[in-house]
Every structure is written in C-alpha cells, then in structure tokens.
Symmetry: C2
Subunit: 467 residues, 2 copies
C-alpha cells in the first residue's frame, strides 16, 4: 500500500463549509463513512483518503455554488465521476468535499450534421454510445472501464481506439468549467477548429480537476463505419510483433485498434475463457471503413505480419466472430487476476516511441522475471503504450515495495527512451515523483499556472504537482 | 488602415537593453529603418509598428540570452519567422526587440520509424517537405504561404489539409520554449500520447509568442500516400455545395482536402489563368490512400455531389492533371487581386459548424453585395472555415471603415452561429475585440495565465489580450 501523503487539514474551514453545504443541499450532502470511503476509492494500491462529505450535484449552478462556498472557507473540492481512475485521483489528502457528478448525466444535444454532441460530465461512454447508436454515430474513445466522460476528459484518457481516433485531447471540442472562484467559463465554440487565443480546452483536458471542474463537454463524434473487421495473428517474439506494428504505422494503414498481448496474457486468457490460442505474443487488430477498404486493410496487414513471422492470421467481419475475438482482449484483466487468486493487480502505464516499444516491453519482461513477478503485459501497441499488471500479495509489504521499485524502474526506462511515465492513466498521486523526472523545469510552469488559477489550492489538491 | 494602438514605451529600458545586445550580437543586432520596418510588416491593413532592433538568433541559447537581457530591462521581445501572419502578430506596439528565427533553420532529427521529426523554428514547411521527400514522408499542414514552422505553431495554423490531418495543435508532439525569464522548457517527450500533467504543448501552440518563444518543434509526420487523386465539381448554389460537404463529412469519407470556391472566385481564376471553368460555386477535392481506396472515395464523392445537383465532376490521378486542377485554388488569391488592380486585399477568417456554413457564406455574400464590395470567397469547407477577400482602395478611409465594419459584422455572425472569429489566422492585434465577444469570461483565465507566466508583459505585448 503506497502511503499517499496526508496534507494539512483546514479543520475550521471544513466545519464551517460543511454546515453551509448541509443546510443548502440537505440529503444530497452525505457524510456517512461508507459513502465517503467509496468516494476516496482507488482501483489500485494507493490508500483511501476519504473526503469529509459527498455532494450529489445536479447542475452547473450547483457545482458553482459548492465551489464558491468551499472557496470562501478554503476547503478542497474533488470532482468524482465513476471512480475508475487508477492513480488516486479522487482521494482527499487534505479532506474536503467530493462533488459526485454522476447525476449530471444528460445528453444535452446531438448535432448529427456536425458530428458533435454536448453532454454533462456524468454521462458514461457506454451510455453515450447507447444513446447515439440509432443515429448511426459513435464516440470512439474506449479506456476499458465504463468511465464518465468528465473523468475521461480530466485524465486525458484514450485506450484501444486511440491509434485511429486519438485521445480525449483530440475529441473534446470545448468545455464548460467551474473555476476555483466559482466562475463558469466556456473554453470554445462549436467550430471544428479555432485560433482564438490560448487553448483552454486542452489545458483543462488532463488537468485532473486541479484547475476547475468540468460541467459540460462538447465532443466530436464519428459515423459508425459501413464495415468493420478484426484479425488476430501470433508472433514468434514480442520483437516481431512490435516490428509489425511499426510497419503498419509507417505504411499508413488506418487500423482502428492494434493491441499486443504477450504470451503470459494469452495463456491467462486461454485458461479463463477455455480457448486454445497459441501461447505466443499476439496482435489483435480491428479495421473500420468500407467493405472494400477493410478487406484491403486486412490483406495488407496479413502481408506485413507474415514478413515478421506472423502465423495463424485470421480475419473476420461478422459481428459475432469479431466480438469473440475481442473477448480475449476484454477478458485479459480478469483472466490475469485469476493467475494468482487473492492477489491485487498493479498496473503500469508507460508509453514510448513505437520504435522503442520492443525494447521497452522486452526489458520489462526480463526484469519482471528476474524479480519473480507474475505480470502479463498488454499494449495499445500502435501508440507505444503498454501495461504490465503486477500480481501482488496485498498482505506482503515486501512484495509491494518490490512492485513499487519496479514501477519506478520502468518509468525511468520509458523516460530514458524519450517516452512518458503515463500514456493514459494520468499523474494523480501515484506518478507525481516521475513528472519532475520527465518534464523537469516545465513542471514549474505548470505550478505557476496552478497558482494563478487556484491560488488557495482548493481544486483537487495533492494531485499532479507537489503540495 | 486600422490604427493599431501604440502602447507605452519603456525608453530607458529599451536603450539599456539595446546597448547590451549590440555589444553581444554585433552585426546580428540591426537597427536600420528598412529592416525594422520589414519586421513589423503585416500582410494586411494593420499599420506598421516597427521594433527598435532586429536580432538574427542562431541557437536556443542565444534566444534565452536575448530574453534574459530584455527581461532584466523590461523590454518587449517579439518572435519573427517569415512575416506571413495576417493579424499584426509581429508588430511592436511598445517597441522592443524582434528576434528573427529564420537562421535557426535546421532539421535536427527525422525518426522515420516513429513518423516524427525535430526541427528548429525557422524551417519553413516547404523546406521541410523537400527535406523529407526522399524518405517517403511529408508534413501535411499547408496554410498557403511558405510560413516557418515556429510561426505556424504559434498561430495554430491549418489550411487545406486540416480536414484530414488536423491543425498544428494535432501535429506538434512537443516543443522547446524559452519562457519570459529566459528559462528553457521542454513541454513533452516523443511518445505519441501522454497524460503527464498540464498540456503545455497545446498551451504554447496558438499563444502567438505571448507566453514564450518556440525554439524547437517535434512534429508528427505522414507517409506519402500510395495514391492521390483530385476532383472538381460545380454546383448550382453555395448551399448545394455546402450540403454536399456536410454529407461527405457525415459519410466519414476521409477527404484530404475539400475546398469551396464561390462563383466570383471561379470567375477571377478563369480570367487570371485563362480557364473556362463554369462560373458557379465549385468544390475541389483531394483523396489520399491506396489505388483502390482513392478510386472508391472519388466514386462516393461523385455520388454525393450528384445528389445535390453537382455537375461536371472530373476526377484525375496523374500528378500533372492534379496540379493543374489545384492551380485554380492556388491562384485564387492573386487572381482575386486582379479583379481590382491597386486594391489591397483584406481577408476574413471565420469558422462555423459545418451545418451553418451555407448560411454563413450566403449571408456574407448578400451583405458584401449590399455594401458594393468585390470580395470573392474561398473556404476550407470541411472545417467550416472560409475567407472573403475584400478588395479595398488603400487610399479611401471610407472604404476601409466600411470593410472594418463588415469584418466585425461577420465575426459577430459567426459567433452567433456557435463559430469563431478566427479559424486559423489567430487573434494578433486585429481580432482582439472579438475574442472577448466569443469567449467572455474565459479571456480572464487567459489573462491570468499570461500574468503568471509573463508578469512584466514582455513577450509580444499587445497581442491576443488587452494591454
């Protein structure tokens, strides 16, 4: 268990703000221990630091009111979506108020002609896609979890489709944000592009709620492609699979997804789902386009894979078979946990230039073997982003320390390869030490922006930056 | 001539800084009137406000030295690339030092395997593409002018290819920037994506040199497509052409370019290049992909165009014929100027949601006719961005005032249609009044960031924000 640092609490301020908030929000301001703990919940190993209260907000006005009250008393405000973040983003190291946005879950507008929509932050990606389906539209970003779109924007999430459709930074057109003094801003209009001043949209995307709380999101959408097909291919080595990915990217093949599963992951999936996939590194690929286009893409992919010793190439375009193929990828997390029942999974998140991916994955595998960890690796290979899921005994301080050391070693390796310690999970509390290693004095610029926009450090304090 | 406001000059500081800089940079610190005027040159109607000196910098260290000296004396520093900006970006309303980056023109690294490169800011887009050609790579952003990549990053430039490849914000991976105190930061690593802290890359892209001077740029590259083809099609009305564009976008057709020329522009091009294109609204389209892919795209486009009354559809894939077809587009600016010899061209730059493009172009045409302006319109239609080029008598104050009023009217219209006053030219001096109308209190957040990162307001003062 990483001992996330507790920060000094403003006890008087918290008590005063809480009294006002309870009066104003009644039942929707909850202070029971279970609900507070749930709102400090992290899906990883960082210890729970519960807020003092949870308020279920229903409108931008309400969020602004909460922030104004907290600002007046210098009390922390932490935005909460679905709690699926991985680096302690929703913890309350200095106490304060968790603003639960899950009831702000309305799709406010869909402009099919412009391929955009406007949603409240509590809408989840699955709910949005269900809402859009009969208009022939979809929102492509898929981080795995059924996260809220506000949370996805705040962590600059991406996932399996990013190689084709980009990350949240590429798919948010504009935001409504409640700033640290309660002011409500809109960061942009609905035009597809703009050169109007500083890019506040991109500044808020990935800011993890430390500069303001996102209360509305205008998103780019995609038309559901005429045709989709999927393929899998096995490789003699991680290196061969990664070289294939590099060629695919260089070729300009517009793959919608290209995922790497290492041999250990394939083994775990076989055991979990009773499959008999060859237990070697595997690539899972998806193509979107016209009927002829996806057929051509699959053919080119098969050719490139063969050049690197790929075997067992299977492409399929029926929805049922595609789903079956991707089930292996979707099951990977749960399948992996079954390799060591009772263990806790700790996920790494480095991202390197694609030309360095084979080196990084190979080095990670060797180091994990040396340390004796069971830790299968899956990767969003087209982005150079991969996750090792270390299975750690939650009762062994020694194992946890060893895991922590490995995470640090891997982050350092990625940074030395011109990569990043976090491709998509964010900094939160867990990766703060590595941000400085990665970006050096640029973190001073971040701190200056934070101080200018949130001088009392009430917006999700203790995340991203020191203090 | 718009009377760009002069700002108070720090005469003592300028004299002191200049003495130090002249000693340090010798011949490369120039104060002749011609060169100073050239560096305050604007390609539009904004009056020239020359800097006090121009220094030709050769390295990041030199830029940092210049900024440190200017910071010590509170003297403005204005970055200069090729001077092709359109909104007074390189003017020196409070005097100060123009830092000419044209000699920092080295391509520092090309990583073909990762489809990226690192360049100095003085490299122009044409020079980069010449450099890349024999590696089968290209950089897609094409704003028309052979601008420097530092300047293009600073104005968040885009142009004809943005509908497929995005704008500078989507194609810059990371930056090296000299901040207002002379500190040199790097905003990111070379990974394709990252969730590591605030997105300083996107904050600097489009900041017009008001937060720092870009001294290195890491750019995403594209493989030169296996096949390209182009097509043109004439339409009975702007509305029919715009509805076709909307359908193309909704269909998900990955057009590389889709440009609108109104009837007046086609007429001008016919006269200038001795062509006999039908003088009705026209779309020019380009497709990139595989042989089969571009053929399929052209076929789908032809079908969609026909549904809206498109005629004279011609698709061609030989380089020579494609170039001839695009010549009409490239000639549009010069052809338009010939419609009224001696007149000065004043370009608008609004960008609206695509569903509002027909309404915006139609309203602009009607208003221009009512005001008696010759003002052909071309548009990056796939982005909803269009330019009217008003031909104005440089000696008539009345015409210029009328043109100015029109620009304001059009900006207001675009904003009311959920669009922006600037799709790609930037705010500079010319569009400052409209930024507030467009983004309201969000401009206060921009001002707070500016004050935090440049407390003495020495970085390109008087641009984007008031003061």
């Amino acid at each position: 268990m990483v001992q996330a640092t507790d920060l000094p609490r403003n006890e008087d301020g918290i008590a005063e703000a809480l009294a006002v908030l309870q009066q104003q929000f009644g039942d929707r301001c909850q202070t029971g221990q279970a609900i507070r703990e749930q709102h400090g919940h992290t899906t990883t190993w960082i210890k729970n630091q519960s807020p003092d209260a949870v308020i279920f907000a229903r409108s931008t006005d309400e969020v602004a009111q909460i922030v104004k009250i907290c600002a007046a008393h210098k009390v922390p405000v932490i935005a909460f979506g679905t709690g699926s973040s991985l680096e302690g983003h929703v913890n309350a190291p200095a106490g304060g108020i968790s603003v639960d946005l899950s009831q702000m879950d309305a799709v406010l507008a869909v402009n099919a002609g412009d391929l955009d929509c406007r949603v409240q932050p509590g809408v989840t990606r699955e709910a949005l896609n269900t809402y859009l389906r009969d208009q022939g539209l979809f929102f492509p970003i898929d981080p795995g979890a059924n996260a809220s779109l506000g949370g996805m924007a705040s962590t600059r999430a991406s996932g399996t489709n990013a190689v084709r459709y980009g990350t949240m930074k590429d798919n948010v057109l504009s935001l409504e944000v409640v700033m640290a003094d309660g002011t409500v801003i809109r960061t942009g209009q609905r035009a597809r592009k703009s050169s109007a001043g500083y890019d506040l949209t991109r500044l808020m995307v990935g800011a993890e709620g430390t500069l303001g709380i996102i209360t509305e999101i205008t998103l780019k959408l995609q038309g559901i492609p005429e045709a989709s097909s999927s393929a899998r291919c096995s490789f003699p080595s991680v290196d061969a699979a990664c070289r294939t990915v590099m060629n695919v990217v260089q070729y300009g093949l517009p793959v919608a997804r290209i995922e790497l599963l290492d041999a250990q992951t394939v083994g775990a999936v076989n055991a979990y789902s009773k499959l008999d996939l060859p237990e070697t590194p595997m690539l899972l690929v998806e193509f979107h386009g016209t009927e002829a286009g996806v057929a051509e893409q699959a053919e080119v992919f098969g050719m490139l894979a063969e050049e690197h010793g790929g075997t067992g190439f299977v492409a399929t375009s029926t929805a049922e078979e595609r789903n079956k193929l991707w089930q292996a990828r979707h099951d990977a997390y749960w399948a992996t946990l079954q390799l060591r029942p009772g263990a806790k999974g700790i996920s790494t998140d480095v991202c390197v230039p694609i030309s360095k991916l084979a080196e990084a994955v190979g080095a990670a595998q060797a180091r994990l073997a040396e340390l004796g960890f069971i830790a299968p690796i899956v990767g969003h290979a087209g982005d150079g982003n991969f996750h090792a899921l270390l299975l750690v005994d939650p009762d062994s301080a020694e194992e946890q320390e060893k895991a922590n050391d490995f995470v640090g070693w891997l982050n350092d390796l990625a940074i030395s390869l011109e990569g990043t310690c976090t491709g998509e999970h964010g900094i939160g509390q867990g990766k703060k030490p590595y941000l400085l290693k990665e970006l050096g004095v640029a973190t001073g610029v971040m701190a200056a922006i934070k101080a200018a926009l949130d001088p009392d450090n009430i917006m999700n304090p203790g995340k991203i930056l020191p203090g």
